[in-house]
Symmetry: C2
Subunit: 301 residues, 2 copies
Protein backbone atom coordinates (compact mmCIF):
# COMPACT_ATOMS: atom_id res chain seq x y z
CA UNK A 1 0.00 0.00 0.00
CA UNK A 2 2.56 2.59 1.09
CA UNK A 3 4.73 1.55 -1.83
CA UNK A 4 2.30 3.28 -4.15
CA UNK A 5 2.33 6.39 -1.99
CA UNK A 6 5.84 7.13 -3.25
CA UNK A 7 5.97 7.84 -6.94
CA UNK A 8 9.02 6.80 -8.96
CA UNK A 9 10.49 10.27 -9.56
CA UNK A 10 10.42 11.06 -5.82
CA UNK A 11 12.50 8.00 -4.91
CA UNK A 12 14.70 8.44 -7.97
CA UNK A 13 15.55 12.04 -7.14
CA UNK A 14 16.16 11.20 -3.47
CA UNK A 15 18.50 8.33 -4.43
CA UNK A 16 20.25 10.56 -6.92
CA UNK A 17 20.85 13.11 -4.16
CA UNK A 18 22.16 10.41 -1.79
CA UNK A 19 24.39 9.01 -4.55
CA UNK A 20 26.03 12.38 -5.11
CA UNK A 21 26.80 12.61 -1.38
CA UNK A 22 28.15 9.05 -1.38
CA UNK A 23 30.35 9.62 -4.42
CA UNK A 24 31.82 12.79 -2.96
CA UNK A 25 32.57 10.84 0.20
CA UNK A 26 34.15 7.91 -1.66
CA UNK A 27 36.30 10.37 -3.57
CA UNK A 28 37.40 11.97 -0.31
CA UNK A 29 37.96 8.71 1.60
CA UNK A 30 40.08 7.20 -1.17
CA UNK A 31 42.52 10.11 -1.42
CA UNK A 32 45.39 8.22 0.16
CA UNK A 33 47.75 10.81 -1.15
CA UNK A 34 50.86 10.91 0.98
CA UNK A 35 52.14 7.36 1.21
CA UNK A 36 50.44 5.08 -1.32
CA UNK A 37 52.13 3.97 -4.58
CA UNK A 38 50.55 5.78 -7.53
CA UNK A 39 49.43 2.69 -9.45
CA UNK A 40 47.80 1.16 -6.39
CA UNK A 41 45.89 4.38 -5.73
CA UNK A 42 44.83 4.59 -9.40
CA UNK A 43 43.66 0.98 -9.27
CA UNK A 44 41.66 1.52 -6.06
CA UNK A 45 40.01 4.64 -7.41
CA UNK A 46 39.40 3.10 -10.87
CA UNK A 47 37.06 0.55 -9.30
CA UNK A 48 35.71 2.50 -6.33
CA UNK A 49 34.71 5.57 -8.32
CA UNK A 50 33.33 3.63 -11.30
CA UNK A 51 29.65 4.33 -11.95
CA UNK A 52 27.43 2.11 -9.82
CA UNK A 53 24.00 1.87 -8.26
CA UNK A 54 25.45 2.34 -4.74
CA UNK A 55 22.64 0.19 -3.37
CA UNK A 56 24.40 -0.73 -0.10
CA UNK A 57 25.37 2.84 0.75
CA UNK A 58 21.85 4.05 -0.15
CA UNK A 59 20.34 1.38 2.12
CA UNK A 60 22.49 2.59 5.03
CA UNK A 61 21.45 6.20 4.50
CA UNK A 62 17.77 5.32 4.07
CA UNK A 63 17.85 3.17 7.24
CA UNK A 64 19.38 6.08 9.15
CA UNK A 65 16.62 8.33 7.81
CA UNK A 66 13.92 5.76 8.60
CA UNK A 67 15.10 5.76 12.24
CA UNK A 68 14.85 9.54 12.49
CA UNK A 69 18.49 10.38 11.76
CA UNK A 70 20.01 12.63 9.13
CA UNK A 71 20.98 10.37 6.18
CA UNK A 72 24.36 12.14 6.11
CA UNK A 73 25.17 10.66 9.53
CA UNK A 74 25.38 7.29 7.79
CA UNK A 75 28.06 8.41 5.29
CA UNK A 76 30.97 6.68 7.11
CA UNK A 77 29.02 3.40 6.97
CA UNK A 78 27.95 4.07 3.37
CA UNK A 79 31.53 4.60 2.25
CA UNK A 80 32.87 1.53 4.07
CA UNK A 81 30.09 -0.65 2.64
CA UNK A 82 30.88 0.42 -0.92
CA UNK A 83 34.59 -0.25 -0.32
CA UNK A 84 33.81 -3.79 0.78
CA UNK A 85 31.43 -4.35 -2.14
CA UNK A 86 34.02 -2.95 -4.55
CA UNK A 87 36.91 -5.08 -3.21
CA UNK A 88 34.72 -8.18 -3.54
CA UNK A 89 34.02 -7.39 -7.21
CA UNK A 90 37.74 -6.88 -7.93
CA UNK A 91 38.68 -10.21 -6.32
CA UNK A 92 35.70 -12.10 -7.78
CA UNK A 93 36.68 -11.00 -11.30
CA UNK A 94 40.23 -12.42 -10.97
CA UNK A 95 41.29 -15.24 -13.34
CA UNK A 96 41.41 -17.74 -10.44
CA UNK A 97 37.84 -16.84 -9.45
CA UNK A 98 35.11 -15.89 -11.98
CA UNK A 99 37.66 -14.80 -14.64
CA UNK A 100 35.76 -11.80 -16.00
CA UNK A 101 37.33 -9.26 -18.38
CA UNK A 102 34.43 -6.85 -18.37
CA UNK A 103 32.31 -5.23 -15.66
CA UNK A 104 29.60 -2.72 -16.51
CA UNK A 105 31.12 -2.18 -19.94
CA UNK A 106 34.63 -1.39 -18.63
CA UNK A 107 37.72 -3.61 -18.38
CA UNK A 108 37.90 -5.28 -14.97
CA UNK A 109 40.61 -4.11 -12.58
CA UNK A 110 43.16 -6.84 -13.35
CA UNK A 111 42.73 -6.24 -17.10
CA UNK A 112 43.11 -2.46 -16.75
CA UNK A 113 46.11 -2.79 -14.38
CA UNK A 114 47.53 -6.25 -13.63
CA UNK A 115 46.66 -9.20 -11.44
CA UNK A 116 49.02 -8.36 -8.56
CA UNK A 117 47.78 -4.78 -8.43
CA UNK A 118 44.15 -5.95 -8.50
CA UNK A 119 44.74 -8.32 -5.57
CA UNK A 120 46.42 -5.53 -3.60
CA UNK A 121 43.77 -2.94 -4.53
CA UNK A 122 41.15 -5.33 -3.13
CA UNK A 123 43.17 -5.91 0.03
CA UNK A 124 43.70 -2.16 0.39
CA UNK A 125 39.99 -1.37 0.00
CA UNK A 126 39.00 -4.08 2.49
CA UNK A 127 41.41 -2.63 5.04
CA UNK A 128 40.45 0.98 4.33
CA UNK A 129 36.79 0.17 5.00
CA UNK A 130 37.59 -0.69 8.63
CA UNK A 131 40.07 2.15 9.01
CA UNK A 132 37.48 4.70 7.89
CA UNK A 133 34.80 3.28 10.21
CA UNK A 134 37.25 3.44 13.14
CA UNK A 135 38.32 6.99 12.34
CA UNK A 136 35.12 8.59 11.13
CA UNK A 137 32.39 7.46 13.52
CA UNK A 138 32.59 9.72 16.56
CA UNK A 139 30.87 7.45 19.13
CA UNK A 140 33.29 4.56 19.85
CA UNK A 141 30.49 2.21 20.89
CA UNK A 142 28.63 2.76 17.62
CA UNK A 143 31.89 2.48 15.66
CA UNK A 144 32.74 -0.87 17.25
CA UNK A 145 29.22 -2.23 16.62
CA UNK A 146 29.34 -1.13 12.98
CA UNK A 147 32.78 -2.71 12.49
CA UNK A 148 31.49 -5.98 13.97
CA UNK A 149 28.39 -5.85 11.71
CA UNK A 150 30.43 -5.23 8.60
CA UNK A 151 33.19 -7.74 9.34
CA UNK A 152 30.72 -10.46 10.21
CA UNK A 153 28.73 -9.82 7.01
CA UNK A 154 31.82 -9.67 4.80
CA UNK A 155 33.93 -12.47 6.27
CA UNK A 156 34.28 -16.24 6.07
CA UNK A 157 30.83 -16.81 7.56
CA UNK A 158 29.34 -14.17 5.25
CA UNK A 159 30.31 -12.93 1.80
CA UNK A 160 33.74 -14.59 1.56
CA UNK A 161 32.24 -17.92 2.63
CA UNK A 162 29.42 -17.44 0.11
CA UNK A 163 31.89 -16.92 -2.73
CA UNK A 164 33.75 -20.08 -1.70
CA UNK A 165 30.49 -22.07 -1.56
CA UNK A 166 29.47 -20.63 -4.94
CA UNK A 167 32.75 -21.70 -6.57
CA UNK A 168 32.35 -25.17 -5.05
CA UNK A 169 28.73 -25.37 -6.27
CA UNK A 170 29.85 -24.64 -9.86
CA UNK A 171 31.70 -27.93 -9.76
CA UNK A 172 28.62 -29.77 -8.46
CA UNK A 173 26.20 -31.24 -11.01
CA UNK A 174 23.08 -29.95 -9.28
CA UNK A 175 22.27 -28.06 -6.12
CA UNK A 176 18.98 -27.78 -4.28
CA UNK A 177 16.95 -24.64 -3.70
CA UNK A 178 18.02 -24.72 -0.03
CA UNK A 179 21.69 -24.86 -0.98
CA UNK A 180 21.19 -22.03 -3.48
CA UNK A 181 19.52 -19.87 -0.85
CA UNK A 182 22.26 -20.61 1.67
CA UNK A 183 24.87 -19.45 -0.86
CA UNK A 184 23.00 -16.26 -1.66
CA UNK A 185 22.28 -15.48 1.98
CA UNK A 186 26.02 -15.47 2.59
CA UNK A 187 27.30 -14.17 -0.73
CA UNK A 188 25.00 -11.18 -1.17
CA UNK A 189 22.37 -11.25 1.59
CA UNK A 190 24.59 -10.51 4.56
CA UNK A 191 26.13 -7.46 2.89
CA UNK A 192 22.67 -6.13 2.06
CA UNK A 193 21.53 -6.56 5.68
CA UNK A 194 24.62 -4.93 7.22
CA UNK A 195 23.78 -1.46 5.78
CA UNK A 196 20.39 -1.55 7.49
CA UNK A 197 21.92 -2.36 10.87
CA UNK A 198 24.73 0.15 10.48
CA UNK A 199 22.42 2.93 9.29
CA UNK A 200 20.05 2.20 12.17
CA UNK A 201 22.86 2.21 14.73
CA UNK A 202 24.10 5.58 13.45
CA UNK A 203 20.62 6.97 14.10
CA UNK A 204 20.63 5.52 17.63
CA UNK A 205 18.00 2.85 16.91
CA UNK A 206 17.05 0.39 19.67
CA UNK A 207 17.24 -3.41 19.50
CA UNK A 208 13.67 -3.94 18.30
CA UNK A 209 14.08 -1.42 15.50
CA UNK A 210 17.40 -3.00 14.47
CA UNK A 211 15.68 -6.37 14.35
CA UNK A 212 12.96 -5.03 12.03
CA UNK A 213 15.62 -3.52 9.81
CA UNK A 214 17.38 -6.89 9.76
CA UNK A 215 14.23 -8.67 8.58
CA UNK A 216 13.75 -6.02 5.89
CA UNK A 217 17.38 -6.46 4.82
CA UNK A 218 17.26 -10.26 4.65
CA UNK A 219 14.07 -10.24 2.57
CA UNK A 220 15.29 -7.52 0.22
CA UNK A 221 18.65 -9.28 -0.10
CA UNK A 222 17.13 -12.50 -1.32
CA UNK A 223 14.70 -10.66 -3.62
CA UNK A 224 17.66 -8.76 -5.05
CA UNK A 225 19.37 -12.02 -5.96
CA UNK A 226 16.25 -13.49 -7.56
CA UNK A 227 15.87 -10.26 -9.56
CA UNK A 228 19.51 -10.55 -10.67
CA UNK A 229 18.96 -14.12 -11.83
CA UNK A 230 15.81 -13.04 -13.70
CA UNK A 231 17.71 -10.22 -15.40
CA UNK A 232 20.27 -12.76 -16.56
CA UNK A 233 17.48 -14.70 -18.31
CA UNK A 234 15.27 -11.90 -19.60
CA UNK A 235 17.55 -8.81 -19.36
CA UNK A 236 18.75 -6.56 -22.15
CA UNK A 237 22.54 -6.74 -22.58
CA UNK A 238 22.84 -3.11 -23.66
CA UNK A 239 21.32 -1.97 -20.37
CA UNK A 240 23.21 -4.54 -18.28
CA UNK A 241 26.68 -3.66 -19.66
CA UNK A 242 27.59 -7.35 -19.63
CA UNK A 243 26.69 -10.48 -21.51
CA UNK A 244 23.34 -11.84 -20.36
CA UNK A 245 22.55 -15.56 -20.21
CA UNK A 246 26.11 -15.99 -18.92
CA UNK A 247 25.01 -17.90 -15.82
CA UNK A 248 22.73 -20.19 -17.79
CA UNK A 249 25.44 -20.82 -20.41
CA UNK A 250 27.80 -21.81 -17.61
CA UNK A 251 25.20 -24.26 -16.27
CA UNK A 252 25.07 -22.28 -13.03
CA UNK A 253 22.13 -22.87 -10.71
CA UNK A 254 19.71 -19.94 -10.67
CA UNK A 255 16.21 -19.31 -9.36
CA UNK A 256 14.64 -19.33 -12.86
CA UNK A 257 16.46 -22.61 -13.61
CA UNK A 258 15.22 -24.21 -10.38
CA UNK A 259 11.76 -22.61 -10.09
CA UNK A 260 10.92 -21.20 -13.53
CA UNK A 261 10.56 -17.50 -14.41
CA UNK A 262 7.01 -16.99 -13.12
CA UNK A 263 7.52 -18.74 -9.79
CA UNK A 264 10.76 -16.80 -9.28
CA UNK A 265 8.92 -13.52 -9.88
CA UNK A 266 6.22 -14.51 -7.37
CA UNK A 267 8.84 -15.38 -4.79
CA UNK A 268 10.63 -12.06 -5.23
CA UNK A 269 7.37 -10.15 -4.85
CA UNK A 270 6.44 -12.08 -1.71
CA UNK A 271 9.83 -11.25 -0.18
CA UNK A 272 9.31 -7.56 -0.94
CA UNK A 273 5.94 -7.70 0.81
CA UNK A 274 7.61 -9.24 3.87
CA UNK A 275 10.28 -6.55 3.79
CA UNK A 276 7.70 -3.76 3.72
CA UNK A 277 5.72 -5.38 6.50
CA UNK A 278 8.79 -5.43 8.77
CA UNK A 279 9.13 -1.66 8.47
CA UNK A 280 5.40 -0.85 8.41
CA UNK A 281 5.49 0.70 11.90
CA UNK A 282 8.21 3.15 10.85
CA UNK A 283 5.43 5.18 9.25
CA UNK A 284 6.22 7.80 6.64
CA UNK A 285 9.91 7.83 7.50
CA UNK A 286 10.13 4.31 6.05
CA UNK A 287 8.57 5.27 2.71
CA UNK A 288 11.84 5.53 0.83
CA UNK A 289 12.99 2.13 2.13
CA UNK A 290 9.69 0.59 0.99
CA UNK A 291 9.97 2.21 -2.42
CA UNK A 292 13.57 1.04 -2.78
CA UNK A 293 12.52 -2.54 -2.06
CA UNK A 294 10.02 -2.29 -4.89
CA UNK A 295 12.58 -0.73 -7.21
CA UNK A 296 14.99 -3.64 -6.61
CA UNK A 297 12.64 -6.21 -8.14
CA UNK A 298 11.43 -3.92 -10.91
CA UNK A 299 14.77 -2.58 -12.16
CA UNK A 300 15.78 -3.56 -15.70
CA UNK A 301 19.57 -3.32 -15.24
Amino acid sequence: MYITMIDGPDLASHLSHLRSLIEARLNFDSQLSHDCPRQLLDSIRYSLLAPGKRIRPCLAMLACEACGGDPKDALPAASALEMIHCYSLIHDDLPAMDDDDLRRGRPTNHIQFNEATAILAGDGLLTLAFESLAKEISDPQVAVACIADLASAAGAEGMVGGQQADLEAEDAAHISLEELEAIHRRKTGRLLTAPLLMGGRLAGANGETLNNLKIYGESVGLAFQIADDLLDVVGDSSKMGKNVQKDADHGKSTYPALLGVEESRKRANLLIEQACEAIANFGERGNHLAALAKYIVERDH
Copy 2:
Protein backbone atom coordinates in the same frame (compact mmCIF):
# COMPACT_ATOMS: atom_id res chain seq x y z
CA MET B 1 73.47 -2.75 29.17
CA TYR B 2 70.11 -4.17 30.18
CA ILE B 3 70.24 -6.49 27.17
CA THR B 4 72.90 -8.51 28.93
CA MET B 5 70.88 -8.55 32.16
CA ILE B 6 68.46 -10.96 30.50
CA ASP B 7 70.01 -14.26 29.63
CA GLY B 8 68.86 -16.17 26.56
CA PRO B 9 66.95 -18.96 28.32
CA ASP B 10 64.88 -16.46 30.34
CA LEU B 11 63.64 -14.67 27.21
CA ALA B 12 63.28 -17.96 25.35
CA SER B 13 61.12 -19.54 28.04
CA HIS B 14 59.01 -16.39 28.39
CA LEU B 15 58.43 -16.25 24.62
CA SER B 16 57.64 -19.93 24.57
CA HIS B 17 55.00 -19.35 27.27
CA LEU B 18 53.53 -16.41 25.34
CA ARG B 19 53.52 -18.44 22.11
CA SER B 20 51.50 -21.21 23.71
CA LEU B 21 48.91 -18.65 24.86
CA ILE B 22 48.85 -17.09 21.38
CA GLU B 23 48.45 -20.41 19.61
CA ALA B 24 45.59 -21.44 21.86
CA ARG B 25 43.93 -18.11 21.09
CA LEU B 26 44.47 -18.44 17.32
CA ASN B 27 42.98 -21.91 17.46
CA PHE B 28 39.96 -20.56 19.30
CA ASP B 29 39.49 -17.41 17.18
CA SER B 30 39.63 -19.38 13.92
CA GLN B 31 36.94 -21.89 14.86
CA LEU B 32 34.35 -20.45 12.49
CA SER B 33 32.31 -23.57 12.92
CA HIS B 34 28.71 -22.89 12.13
CA ASP B 35 28.60 -21.16 8.76
CA CYS B 36 31.92 -21.38 6.94
CA PRO B 37 32.53 -23.80 4.04
CA ARG B 38 34.78 -26.63 5.19
CA GLN B 39 37.58 -26.12 2.65
CA LEU B 40 37.79 -22.41 3.39
CA LEU B 41 38.07 -23.11 7.10
CA ASP B 42 40.73 -25.77 6.48
CA SER B 43 42.66 -23.34 4.33
CA ILE B 44 42.48 -20.55 6.92
CA ARG B 45 43.60 -22.85 9.71
CA TYR B 46 46.31 -24.52 7.57
CA SER B 47 48.15 -21.20 7.34
CA LEU B 48 47.16 -19.56 10.62
CA LEU B 49 48.09 -22.52 12.81
CA ALA B 50 51.29 -23.38 10.92
CA PRO B 51 54.39 -23.20 13.10
CA GLY B 52 55.77 -19.65 13.27
CA LYS B 53 57.81 -17.29 15.38
CA ARG B 54 54.70 -15.22 16.27
CA ILE B 55 56.92 -12.15 16.53
CA ARG B 56 54.11 -9.60 16.10
CA PRO B 57 51.83 -11.19 18.72
CA CYS B 58 54.78 -11.52 21.12
CA LEU B 59 55.64 -7.84 20.61
CA ALA B 60 52.06 -6.85 21.51
CA MET B 61 52.13 -8.95 24.67
CA LEU B 62 55.59 -7.73 25.70
CA ALA B 63 54.53 -4.10 25.12
CA CYS B 64 51.48 -4.64 27.30
CA GLU B 65 53.72 -6.14 29.99
CA ALA B 66 56.26 -3.31 29.63
CA CYS B 67 53.47 -0.82 30.35
CA GLY B 68 52.44 -2.63 33.51
CA GLY B 69 49.60 -4.70 32.06
CA ASP B 70 49.03 -8.45 32.10
CA PRO B 71 50.42 -9.79 28.78
CA LYS B 72 47.19 -11.81 28.42
CA ASP B 73 45.24 -8.56 28.09
CA ALA B 74 46.93 -8.13 24.71
CA LEU B 75 45.71 -11.48 23.33
CA PRO B 76 42.93 -9.96 21.15
CA ALA B 77 45.54 -7.70 19.52
CA ALA B 78 48.04 -10.56 19.30
CA SER B 79 45.56 -12.77 17.49
CA ALA B 80 44.44 -10.05 15.06
CA LEU B 81 48.07 -9.17 14.25
CA GLU B 82 48.92 -12.76 13.41
CA MET B 83 45.82 -13.03 11.21
CA ILE B 84 46.92 -9.96 9.23
CA HIS B 85 50.48 -11.25 8.95
CA CYS B 86 49.20 -14.66 7.87
CA TYR B 87 46.81 -13.28 5.22
CA SER B 88 49.66 -11.19 3.79
CA LEU B 89 51.85 -14.29 3.45
CA ILE B 90 49.07 -16.22 1.68
CA HIS B 91 48.45 -13.40 -0.82
CA ASP B 92 52.17 -12.62 -1.32
CA ASP B 93 52.84 -16.27 -2.21
CA LEU B 94 50.22 -16.27 -5.03
CA PRO B 95 51.39 -16.87 -8.61
CA ALA B 96 50.54 -13.27 -9.59
CA MET B 97 52.68 -11.96 -6.70
CA ASP B 98 55.90 -13.64 -5.49
CA ASP B 99 54.88 -17.06 -6.89
CA ASP B 100 56.22 -19.23 -4.07
CA ASP B 101 55.42 -22.93 -3.74
CA LEU B 102 57.06 -23.43 -0.38
CA ARG B 103 56.92 -21.57 2.94
CA ARG B 104 58.81 -22.82 5.97
CA GLY B 105 59.15 -26.22 4.36
CA ARG B 106 55.42 -26.68 3.68
CA PRO B 107 53.45 -26.17 0.47
CA THR B 108 52.06 -22.64 0.29
CA ASN B 109 48.30 -22.22 0.70
CA HIS B 110 47.43 -22.06 -3.02
CA ILE B 111 49.51 -25.19 -3.67
CA GLN B 112 47.92 -27.10 -0.79
CA PHE B 113 44.38 -25.97 -1.72
CA ASN B 114 43.88 -23.89 -4.88
CA GLU B 115 44.31 -20.30 -5.93
CA ALA B 116 40.69 -19.21 -5.46
CA THR B 117 40.58 -20.72 -1.98
CA ALA B 118 43.90 -19.07 -1.06
CA ILE B 119 42.63 -15.64 -2.16
CA LEU B 120 39.45 -16.14 -0.14
CA ALA B 121 41.31 -17.50 2.91
CA GLY B 122 43.41 -14.33 2.88
CA ASP B 123 40.33 -12.14 2.54
CA GLY B 124 38.63 -14.07 5.34
CA LEU B 125 41.60 -13.72 7.71
CA LEU B 126 41.94 -10.00 6.99
CA THR B 127 38.26 -9.51 7.80
CA LEU B 128 38.34 -11.78 10.86
CA ALA B 129 41.20 -9.73 12.33
CA PHE B 130 38.97 -6.66 12.56
CA GLU B 131 35.94 -8.65 13.66
CA SER B 132 37.85 -10.16 16.56
CA LEU B 133 39.26 -6.78 17.67
CA ALA B 134 35.75 -5.29 17.60
CA LYS B 135 34.24 -8.20 19.52
CA GLU B 136 36.99 -9.09 21.99
CA ILE B 137 38.30 -5.79 23.35
CA SER B 138 35.93 -4.71 26.10
CA ASP B 139 36.68 -0.95 26.14
CA PRO B 140 35.19 0.49 22.90
CA GLN B 141 37.64 3.42 22.86
CA VAL B 142 40.64 1.10 23.06
CA ALA B 143 39.06 -1.22 20.47
CA VAL B 144 38.55 1.61 17.98
CA ALA B 145 42.11 2.90 18.50
CA CYS B 146 43.55 -0.60 18.00
CA ILE B 147 41.47 -1.10 14.84
CA ALA B 148 42.72 2.23 13.47
CA ASP B 149 46.35 1.31 14.33
CA LEU B 150 46.10 -2.08 12.66
CA ALA B 151 44.22 -0.91 9.54
CA SER B 152 46.56 1.99 9.01
CA ALA B 153 49.62 -0.28 9.36
CA ALA B 154 48.20 -3.01 7.11
CA GLY B 155 46.55 -0.94 4.37
CA ALA B 156 47.47 0.90 1.18
CA GLU B 157 49.68 3.37 3.03
CA GLY B 158 51.28 0.57 5.02
CA MET B 159 51.89 -3.11 4.26
CA VAL B 160 49.72 -3.38 1.12
CA GLY B 161 51.36 -0.26 -0.34
CA GLY B 162 54.78 -1.66 0.55
CA GLN B 163 54.09 -4.90 -1.31
CA GLN B 164 52.98 -2.90 -4.36
CA ALA B 165 56.13 -0.74 -4.20
CA ASP B 166 58.24 -3.88 -3.77
CA LEU B 167 56.73 -5.51 -6.87
CA GLU B 168 57.31 -2.29 -8.83
CA ALA B 169 60.92 -2.08 -7.60
CA GLU B 170 61.61 -5.59 -8.90
CA ASP B 171 61.02 -4.23 -12.40
CA ALA B 172 63.38 -1.30 -11.78
CA ALA B 173 67.06 -1.78 -12.64
CA HIS B 174 68.33 -0.22 -9.42
CA ILE B 175 66.84 1.42 -6.36
CA SER B 176 68.50 3.65 -3.80
CA LEU B 177 68.93 2.94 -0.09
CA GLU B 178 66.24 5.56 0.63
CA GLU B 179 63.78 3.82 -1.70
CA LEU B 180 64.63 0.44 -0.15
CA GLU B 181 64.02 1.80 3.37
CA ALA B 182 60.72 3.38 2.29
CA ILE B 183 59.55 0.00 0.95
CA HIS B 184 60.53 -1.85 4.11
CA ARG B 185 59.05 0.78 6.41
CA ARG B 186 55.70 0.16 4.72
CA LYS B 187 55.98 -3.53 3.90
CA THR B 188 57.20 -4.85 7.25
CA GLY B 189 57.95 -1.87 9.52
CA ARG B 190 54.42 -0.60 10.04
CA LEU B 191 53.14 -4.06 11.03
CA LEU B 192 55.98 -4.43 13.54
CA THR B 193 55.18 -1.04 15.09
CA ALA B 194 51.43 -1.63 15.35
CA PRO B 195 51.82 -4.42 17.98
CA LEU B 196 53.72 -2.04 20.24
CA LEU B 197 51.01 0.61 20.04
CA MET B 198 48.19 -1.91 20.44
CA GLY B 199 49.85 -3.69 23.36
CA GLY B 200 50.52 -0.33 25.02
CA ARG B 201 46.94 0.82 24.53
CA LEU B 202 45.61 -2.39 26.07
CA ALA B 203 47.69 -1.62 29.17
CA GLY B 204 46.29 1.93 29.29
CA ALA B 205 49.58 3.61 28.28
CA ASN B 206 49.67 7.40 27.85
CA GLY B 207 50.70 9.30 24.71
CA GLU B 208 54.36 9.69 25.66
CA THR B 209 54.74 6.00 26.43
CA LEU B 210 53.03 5.08 23.14
CA ASN B 211 55.47 7.35 21.33
CA ASN B 212 58.45 5.60 22.93
CA LEU B 213 56.99 2.24 21.96
CA LYS B 214 56.56 3.55 18.40
CA ILE B 215 60.25 4.54 18.18
CA TYR B 216 61.22 1.11 19.53
CA GLY B 217 58.95 -0.54 16.94
CA GLU B 218 60.23 1.44 13.99
CA SER B 219 63.87 0.74 14.87
CA VAL B 220 63.29 -2.95 15.53
CA GLY B 221 61.23 -3.20 12.32
CA LEU B 222 64.05 -1.94 10.13
CA ALA B 223 66.64 -4.03 11.99
CA PHE B 224 64.42 -7.07 11.45
CA GLN B 225 64.45 -6.48 7.70
CA ILE B 226 68.21 -6.01 7.56
CA ALA B 227 68.60 -9.24 9.56
CA ASP B 228 66.29 -11.01 7.08
CA ASP B 229 68.37 -9.79 4.14
CA LEU B 230 71.54 -10.92 5.91
CA LEU B 231 70.04 -14.37 6.54
CA ASP B 232 69.31 -14.61 2.83
CA VAL B 233 73.02 -14.12 2.08
CA VAL B 234 74.64 -16.01 4.94
CA GLY B 235 71.77 -18.18 6.28
CA ASP B 236 71.54 -21.95 6.42
CA SER B 237 68.75 -23.28 4.16
CA SER B 238 67.96 -26.22 6.45
CA LYS B 239 67.19 -23.82 9.32
CA MET B 240 65.35 -21.32 7.12
CA GLY B 241 62.98 -23.88 5.55
CA LYS B 242 63.32 -22.09 2.21
CA ASN B 243 65.92 -21.56 -0.47
CA VAL B 244 68.47 -18.96 0.59
CA GLN B 245 70.14 -16.59 -1.87
CA LYS B 246 66.74 -16.35 -3.55
CA ASP B 247 66.59 -12.56 -3.33
CA ALA B 248 70.12 -12.16 -4.68
CA ASP B 249 69.43 -14.65 -7.49
CA HIS B 250 66.39 -12.58 -8.46
CA GLY B 251 68.52 -9.42 -8.57
CA LYS B 252 66.41 -7.97 -5.75
CA SER B 253 67.80 -4.98 -3.88
CA THR B 254 68.86 -5.88 -0.36
CA TYR B 255 70.89 -4.20 2.39
CA PRO B 256 73.92 -6.46 1.90
CA ALA B 257 73.78 -5.76 -1.85
CA LEU B 258 73.62 -2.00 -1.31
CA LEU B 259 75.81 -1.64 1.81
CA GLY B 260 77.83 -4.86 2.10
CA VAL B 261 77.48 -7.49 4.84
CA GLU B 262 79.55 -5.75 7.52
CA GLU B 263 77.98 -2.32 7.09
CA SER B 264 74.51 -3.92 7.16
CA ARG B 265 75.35 -5.66 10.44
CA LYS B 266 76.53 -2.39 11.94
CA ARG B 267 73.38 -0.64 10.86
CA ALA B 268 71.18 -3.34 12.39
CA ASN B 269 73.07 -3.14 15.68
CA LEU B 270 72.78 0.65 15.77
CA LEU B 271 69.02 0.40 15.25
CA ILE B 272 68.74 -2.07 18.11
CA GLU B 273 70.63 0.36 20.36
CA GLN B 274 68.17 3.10 19.41
CA ALA B 275 65.26 0.78 20.13
CA CYS B 276 66.57 -0.04 23.59
CA GLU B 277 67.23 3.61 24.33
CA ALA B 278 63.61 4.49 23.55
CA ILE B 279 62.38 2.09 26.23
CA ALA B 280 65.20 2.69 28.74
CA ASN B 281 62.90 4.55 31.14
CA PHE B 282 60.51 1.56 31.29
CA GLY B 283 63.01 0.03 33.72
CA GLU B 284 62.90 -3.70 34.45
CA ARG B 285 59.45 -4.13 32.88
CA GLY B 286 61.05 -3.38 29.50
CA ASN B 287 63.74 -6.07 29.84
CA HIS B 288 61.97 -8.64 27.71
CA LEU B 289 61.37 -6.10 24.94
CA ALA B 290 65.05 -5.17 24.98
CA ALA B 291 66.10 -8.81 24.89
CA LEU B 292 63.70 -9.50 22.01
CA ALA B 293 65.23 -6.66 20.00
CA LYS B 294 68.62 -8.27 20.43
CA TYR B 295 67.26 -11.71 19.51
CA ILE B 296 65.87 -10.34 16.25
CA VAL B 297 69.29 -9.43 14.88
CA GLU B 298 71.01 -12.50 16.27
CA ARG B 299 68.54 -15.18 15.16
CA ASP B 300 69.80 -17.69 12.60
CA HIS B 301 66.46 -18.59 10.99
